[in-house]
Symmetry: C2
Subunit: 717 residues, 2 copies
């Protein structure tokens, strides 16, 4: 790829970004778009009444940037929780890393690369038609002493990244502890989930749990709630909700618009009836059915061998959590309970074996998905190598000779296609994760996040790198000894692709995140085609499973290409600067947290960064070998070992903090609440906190006045 | 190797075994050898007064076999503990495995191999001069349908081994629990070791521990004992013991034998003194010194940031053990306390970082040892390939043409040399393990056992297999894809070497175990050269670190060669039968347990067997590929996956039982002791149970009457 192709790509994307930004700053001021650009504010009732004049409303303005900039970390913490803070810390961390990296890379490494003449003689004329490779390490002469500069910069950069990693891990650990210390009593701190309750003849699971915990935890045991199989009931309630929505919709129409309908098959046969009465009748029947099912369930329902067990103190719950309860380790398996509204009810997979097998199935499914995904990746690779495309599709020859078309095709199209295909991955991975038997939305989100991250690294980085040079060389990893060498050949060759990938995929994803294209269109359709549905909307939650892997993938690109092709760094810095502002803005206006993990996303960030460092060092080992500087190659190995040791240390030092709270903190919190009068109230509520929402009474048909309330699930917290 | 060479080897070893057995059955009846062949009985005072006549004493008799055979598992459990039972269960398990394997191997696979004609035409004449390879799978024709018999037998054998593994794991788990339920209150159930106690200004570690545990575990906390740095003191006490021994020796001599000595430099200068008085004086000085040091230590000694913390109940200790105590996970690190007499005091490595670094150092040291050990292995390999030896040392040509010499050299010498070198490994590995910061002899023993096992597998199995065919092919393992194929070529080629290895190393080690050559010689020297020392002897403890790896290594050989060269199986069966009888005899007469891990050696056995199965299956995959039966090769892969899943299941189902006791069992035991009057006594003793023996008062000089007692370390349990 030549310099001018890169410039074309940058130009297109810069144009797109500016367009989106301008459109955003206009559209967000239209009151009709409040549901799209400020759903959080609308839900909180803080949607500012637009005081500006009509002309002001039509002019772009950068006020939102200032507001986003001024937002402090304490505000984010108090309004959107610790997870949002972690999200922002990823940006801050990356900005710090790539500022240091950028200074070294652009001021030192880039000139060193450029004055090499491995690829072409030094010649400052005709820059636009030169290959981007002259800015990469490939241009440094073999055996050149200048490679020691690269060697030193790798050491310095690794040192800086490790220091920053340590600092951030420490910072977020302390935030997590502070968050816990300042929290009010919360049901999930007092509750554990017990699975694989052994069946005993003539006794319900509830009785078993009751007698087990009163025997072994008499001082702290409070209550239990056995989980029921409510799949059928959930279906019925869903139907009732749908009917209720349709009914609302019908009622909102003018009565003269209402047509009579037939009550028979498909509304084609039977006698004519008023549809409102008809649906009302149906809804009442359905609700009756639901109530019957509910009472059936609570009397003799199909119990699942799992129960939420609540304790009188946090420490009591922690004791039951951490000590193996029964002599048989696969019975009475305990687990931290999630927040009540975070419980994932639909697929409450229970038995030990079931969960184990579904785990295995998911692993196989992930591998299959990865293999299937190679198809678009290979297609994209043929686009970057135009010669191949011409041999496949000879009739395109004429078009491809036009400079602009070929530049668009090599510079823009490949990453766009990849981007579109990548959009389908997070939802699929989410389905996989929810099949694994996780019991909360947050666990599913964390697991999805990990899956998407590794999928992205494998399918975007490795598949591109290895298929770009030697097609389908997946079995490189079956010969670990040769990995550094193979990567050293393949990775620098893809530098220009990834530079454009940052520009197209990264910048575009940010501006579309800001612009919210799909919600905007969706909102438009809803408002203009189906009137009454408009006032009932969901405030979106932060899509960690898409965002974190993307941000981390760019970090991986930045770290691996830091010394190979430092030209990537300025584009990454732009990405992180934009991202920093845009996500602050979105946290302020758009997203509401659906759960709080207390910063459990950070270990993913840490691990991924360490992986990037190791990858970078492995490539360095290979590159120095290829460049005939075996001394530097061997001297990089200690760095790799040191990095692994650093990781090991951090795992020991910080990871346990994210797994569970310590006795010290739990007891301190318990003592704090000991003389609190509100604790009795809290414990009363705790008893029913983990009731399955499908078992809560429903009432749509009669309760016509306040028709919004029953749609919200009403847990006591 | 030809059949007659094998027969030579079998002959020699059988002769040796019979010789050792005969000598044993004679020597054990000599009263003077009681310390060698029945030290356990002597120590227990049960040494039977030999009633048999002089002639009977000189005739070999098989009475000991009958007694060993009649010993029941309950007796072993009550006299030598659960670990000895586990040792015997390894033999029982192996006997079962190889009985099944032997039936399939000898009756089905061996004939199938023999009628193949890949290596030579079927010809029943001249059997002694045929290569052993005609009994191995190498002789089956390529692409032969008969290989499906091997395929089926692999499936059946894996099934049988997995069933037996499951059965044994379950059996030993239940034994472990039963052992715990039937145990009396023991200090290590009530105590934990706390390490990395944070230093706080102006406070001793003892105060820190006291205030921490009284604050966070007020109901259950009993007492603490901070560990002191007693290296200097231990040295002094050792010197005092030595002096005391010398003094005893001098006193036991006739007084007219005693010469006067000079009290100056090296006993050459100064005035003449009576040596008894001289040493007495010296000993008194030394004891005074020790007492001074002890009182110094207890007042202002150098404290180590580690303490034994005792609790009033087992459950209380378990709670403190399992829950992370402090917000900083590398402070207040808790660990199960070992039995008081099992604590390993000399190297009480303490800080988190120190232990971590010494772990790393030990890993590096193990790798170095492995590399160094390749030298003798390569030498041994040149012996099995006589041609190579002839080219290296041409002057041997004349000798090597003598049939018997060459048979001895190929059949016997290699394994003997290996055996001698292997003897040095367990002590070295024990030193490594004790450097890793383990705090008890039992942990060191378990860790040594693992190290020796993997060392044996690597250096005997892999180094022989891979250097025998392609010298120094260690980097086979850096190309995982090719492992099955490479192993399939190399492993069958070494079949005859390992058959002789079983006969020489296995049978010889058993008979020398029975005969106790070295203790016998040692005892002889002691008795005849240094009179008085004889009555003071140590009862040996079971050398798990040597025995378990050896038994497991033979199991690995049996499992991997089960379908390759079933001829190995009868020799193994003989080994396990002999071993079964001999170890029962030794447990009855010789060994006394020094510690009790409660069966923690079994997981090592389980893991090693699973590894053997996986190895066997990997070789099968390669062999079927080489033998042009790719279908069978692919169909073996599911078996490998199933075996791994089985292992995973067992890890989940049984391993936690060996890590810690459950809440259920702990609370049951606590309740049992609740109304026990002796508990008060027990708790009183518990407070001082973990006193460093170096801090106990010593008294050698005055206490002349009962001079045996102070030599035994006197902990209250």
């Amino acid at each position: 790829m030549i310099v001018s192709a890169l410039l074309t790509s940058v130009g297109i994307n810069l144009g797109l970004c500016i367009l989106f930004f301008t459109l955003y700053s206009i559209l967000r001021k239209q009151p009709s778009n409040a549901n799209v650009y400020g759903p959080r504010l609308v839900a909180e009732g803080k949607s500012q009444q637009n005081s500006c004049s009509n002309i002001e409303r039509l002019l772009p303005s950068p006020g939102w940037v200032r507001r986003a900039w001024q937002l402090s970390e304490e505000e984010i913490l108090s309004t959107t929780g610790l997870d949002a803070v972690v999200l922002m810390r990823i940006f801050i961390f990356s900005l710090r890393v790539f500022s240091c990296g950028g200074i070294v890379g652009i001021l030192i490494l880039l000139p060193v690369n450029y004055v090499g003449n491995q690829l072409s003689d030094i010649d400052f004329s005709d820059l636009p038609n030169k290959s981007l490779d002259i800015f990469s390490i490939s241009n440094v002469n073999n055996g050149s002493k200048r490679l020691w500069i690269h060697f030193c910069s790798i050491y310095v950069f690794t040192g800086v990244v490790c220091y920053l990693l340590y600092y951030e891990y420490k910072y977020i650990s302390s935030k997590r502890l502070a968050y816990f210390y300042s929290s009010k009593p919360q049901p999930h701190h007092f509750t554990i989930l017990v699975r694989s309750i052994p069946a005993s003849a003539g006794r319900s699971f509830g009785d078993s749990v009751e007698s087990f915990f009163t025997e072994y935890h008499p001082a702290t045991y409070l209550s239990n709630l056995v989980v029921h199989r409510t799949k059928k009931l959930q279906g019925l309630i869903k139907d009732a909700k749908m009917l209720y929505k349709r009914l609302l919709h019908l009622r909102s129409k003018d009565s003269n618009q209402q047509k009579l309908m037939r009550d028979g098959f498909l509304g084609l046969f039977g006698r004519k009836v008023n549809p409102i009465d008809h649906y009302e009748k149906k809804l009442e029947d359905l609700e009756e059915h639901v109530r019957m099912e509910q009472s059936n369930l609570s009397v003799a329902g199909e119990e699942v061998p799992a129960a939420f067990v609540s304790f009188k103190s946090r420490y009591g719950a922690a004791i039951a959590l951490h000590i193996q309860q029964s002599d048989n380790p696969i019975e009475w398996v305990t687990e931290q309970a999630p927040e009540p509204h975070d419980v994932y009810w639909p697929f409450f997979s229970t038995s030990f074996m079931q969960r184990w097998i579904s785990n295995l199935v998911v692993i196989v499914a992930c591998i299959l998905l990865t293999i299937l995904f190679l198809v678009p990746v290979v297609f994209v690779q043929t686009l970057t190598n135009l010669d191949q495309l011409e041999t496949f599709l000879p009739f395109l020859k004429g078009i491809l000779t036009i400079t602009f078309v070929s530049q668009v095709i090599t510079g823009y199209l490949p990453s766009l296609i990849l981007l579109l295909f990548l959009q389908t991955v997070p939802p699929i991975m989410k389905i996989f994760s929810s099949m694994q038997g996780y019991i909360s939305h947050s666990q599913i989100e964390i697991s999805t996040c990990k899956k998407v991250l590794w999928f992205t690294i494998w399918n975007i980085f490795f598949a591109n790198v290895l298929s770009g040079s030697v097609l389908y060389q997946i079995n490189v990893f079956l010969e670990p000894k040769n990995i550094p060498e193979k990567l050293a050949v393949a990775v620098p060759a893809q530098a220009s692709f990834f530079i454009t990938y940052v520009v197209t995929s990264g910048w575009t994803s940010l501006s579309s995140e800001l612009f919210r294209m799909i919600p905007l269109i969706w909102d438009f359709i809803k408002r203009h085609c189906s009137g009454s549905y408009a006032d009932e909307f969901d405030v979106p939650s932060i899509p960690y499973r898409c965002e974190i892997p993307r941000i981390l993938f760019f970090e991986l690109l930045g770290i691996t290409y830091f010394f190979l092709a430092p030209l990537i760094l300025p584009f990454l810095l732009v990405y992180y600067c934009l991202g920093y502002i845009i996500y602050r803005n979105q946290l302020l206006n758009v997203y509401t947290p659906k759960f709080e993990t207390g910063g459990k996303f950070w270990p993913i960030v840490h691990n991924s960064t360490i992986f990037s460092l190791i990858l970078m060092q492995a490539i360095a080992i290979g590159i120095f070998g290829l460049k005939k500087l075996p001394m530097a190659s061997s001297l990089t190995i200690p760095l790799l070992i040191l990095t692994l040791l650093f990781h090991e240390y951090c795992q020991k030092r910080f990871l346990p903090i994210f797994a569970a709270y310590s006795a010290e903190s739990l007891i301190k919190k318990d003592k704090e609440n000991e003389n609190d009068a509100s604790m009795t109230d809290f414990l009363d509520k705790l008893v029913t906190a983990y009731r399955d929402p499908a078992l809560l009474p429903i009432q749509y048909s009669e309760n016509r006045d306040s028709h919004n309330s029953p749609l919200l699930s009403s847990t006591p917290f």
